[in-house]
Amino acid sequence: MSASRESILRRLRETRVPRHHPAAAAWSPLRYADPLGEFEQRLEVAGGSCVEIAGRDELAAALGALAPFRDAEKIASPLPEILSTWDAADPRGWAELDFAVLEGQLAVAESGAVWVAPSDSERSACFLAEHLALVVRRDSLVHNLHEAYAVLDPSRSAFGCFIAGPSKTADIEQALVIGAHGPRSLVVVFWG
Amino acid sequence: MRVALFVPCYVDQLRPSVAHATLALLERCGFDVDFPEAQTCCGQAHLNSGGARDARVLATRFLEIFAPYEKIVCPSASCVATVTQHYGDLLPVSPELLAIRAKTRELSAFLATEVPSTALRGRWQGKIGIQPSCHGLRELRQGRSTERRDGHPFDPLRNLLENLEGAEIVDPVRTDECCGFGGAFCVEEPGVSRLMGLDRLRDHERAGASVVTSSDVSCLLHLEGLARRERVPLEFRHVAELLECATRDPS
């Protein structure tokens, strides 16, 4: 082990850091009367949109109603309901991708976020695609992040991500621009 | 109740009218007020400028001089904050220190809690802008800080003004932004201090205020100095001056 490791840890062990005890009033995380409505509103503010369907069999039709999907030439998805028109052997091969559809495991109302844990190749598709759709079960919706982490175990996959809208930036004079590097649009499809 | 009047050094020398108004108000409310003449300065300026050693000497003096009194009332929120919130950084905890901390109150907080509001009825014609003292707000927790999510904060200054007939409080857009005085800051960082002050003046002017009030005198001296230089037609009255005038018996 490196000398720096030992000396950093030694220095830290020699240090007595005064414990700080803030007087915390009891609190409990916010829950919503209408979590789905909250999710939709959050996602909309963040530049995304929501679609609800009753069953997976409606998925293709629901996406077909969206212009970016209709116009897409190169579509990729591990979902059996979607007809992929593009595949890549290398992560960089997804650079031309028009539309990716991925499965989300869980949605969080307070943040308008969906948890995805894509495989390695799905992962680059997820960020290189011009447009992204995430498909998530309606009953996986939780109220807040505390509830989300109570259910999730991020350490089970090499990569997992809360996605809460299309890629965006406000680095030029605070003007919000959608589509900084990654997808220019995000649609979340709730089913069930 | 035997009340000691704590008059900050700069109020004593530069704006004595605030101290006179404080005295008059307290006496009008029936308090037996004494001004301990040995007092000079609480050490705030020293402490805030890095002179903790010097401040410690003055804090020790303060403790001796004000020990005999039941209550200590002061028309400057920042000086009160120094005594109640920061003497503990300078002096070892002692029964004397704890007693002084518990006894020292800022004028508007004292009036709002110790005097029935009926005793402070009065009239004021005109629109009042409040320039909250940052130390009153964020050290003494008097007033609503926009940064925090507290339910119903204790806001004695506002309550006292709302009690005046005819008075209309007009809030600027940024209700609790610092005026830019900051003690030595105002002379060490003149460019930023000036701009901060001018922005407050503009904000109060746009809100339609004709007079700006505060529980700290230093903020008002700085704003008044700027307004006079820039010919901004705003008046500046410390809350003691304003209340004393508004509650004066017309007869």
Partner: protein, 456 residues
Amino acid sequence: MTHPERANAFANNEDRARWHDQALWFVRDRRDRAMQGLPEWEGLRAEAARIKGETLSRLADQLESFEDNAIASGAKVHWAGDAREFNDIVLDLLRTRRVTRVVKSKSMLTEECQLNPWLEAHGVEVVDTDLGERIVQLRREPPSHIVFPAIHLRKEEIGETFHAHLGSPKGLADPTRLTEIARGDLRSKFLGAQAGITGVNFAIAETGGIVVCTNEGNADLGTALPPIHIACMGIEKLVPKTADLAVFLRLLARSATGQAITAYTSHFHGPREGGELHIVIVDNGRSETLANPSFARALSCIRCGACMNTCPVFRRSGGHSYEATIPGPIGSILEPVRDAARHASLPFACTLCGSCTDVCPVAIPLHHQLKAWRGELTERALTGKWKRFCLALSRAIFERPGLYSAAGRLVRWLGRRLPRRWLYGKANTWGIARELPEFPSESFRERYRRERARER
């Protein structure tokens, strides 16, 4: 140069200073609205402060369990005592893998250690991929804010920069089109990169995982495409448990930009298949900060930037006026720990208004620490001699009520008698921008004494 010199220059360009003030106030306003949306805000802040406090008090154990778990997940962990060692570790990792093209997402740590110039000097092209950072990188300027690196620039200036470096049409100043041009340019950099460097927002002790938050998705592209991921973190980035992330993520984006959460919150546990994940843990003065009881809590900072947005001085003096990697209130505490003499003016660039303390999501008592710094700088004789003399002199006067009254009388007498020309001479820094107050002929105590004597 000291802070006042640079700040005066910025503030004296009133239009620009007001524009900068307004831009950041706008962010503060959005943050307030996001805060209002969470009734438990103050409880959440206290919880965050508690977790960070606990973590810092047993940081060595936490770091060790983080390391064990990270290694178990397949990551390689490296330790750097200082900036030099950190730069060497990264360069060595790249060299042994023959990497010459690197993309980097935001990391204030790499800024602090000056990693870019080091890599460039050794033949590695580093491209900052956060749009704001890319802008200042092209301009060869340091970032002026930790969340909005290019907040000091107007869109016209950015347009000129892009015209010069990226061949955008002259005069183009539309943010959407400028962003589009940057997107196109950076896309090719992402695709061509051999390694991706990221910062770390949170490191989880119980799993060995790291979390990176961005809005642009640049950290994700930078780690999904090239096979090598180098994550750089200070020792203070730890949280004990995965569940703790909920507390910090709820606070972070709301405080930083007013969003409920950033567009991407990415969790990494080990490398992807066939790839490498290297985590470099850096001290570079942090353990010394921790050893100083006055400032230890400053290490709880989660770099949201809210204290900068709310600071009335920062908004009117600009981030560059601090000449520090981390500007604003938190920077004015952290930077002097590294080099007190160089940054001695920073703790004084503050009115002690306390807004930063109230806004801080981890409840660091920022303005009290700034005040503590002033005391420490005075003790170490790093403040001006004249200032220290004035403090001692005035204290000596205040100890003697008779002398104090006489001095007051003299000052007021002079104030009333001296011709304006003298009164507003060079020494009167108050008078640069303001009129002096009217000097009363009698102090309060003089009149009080006179009236009481008459009563008796």
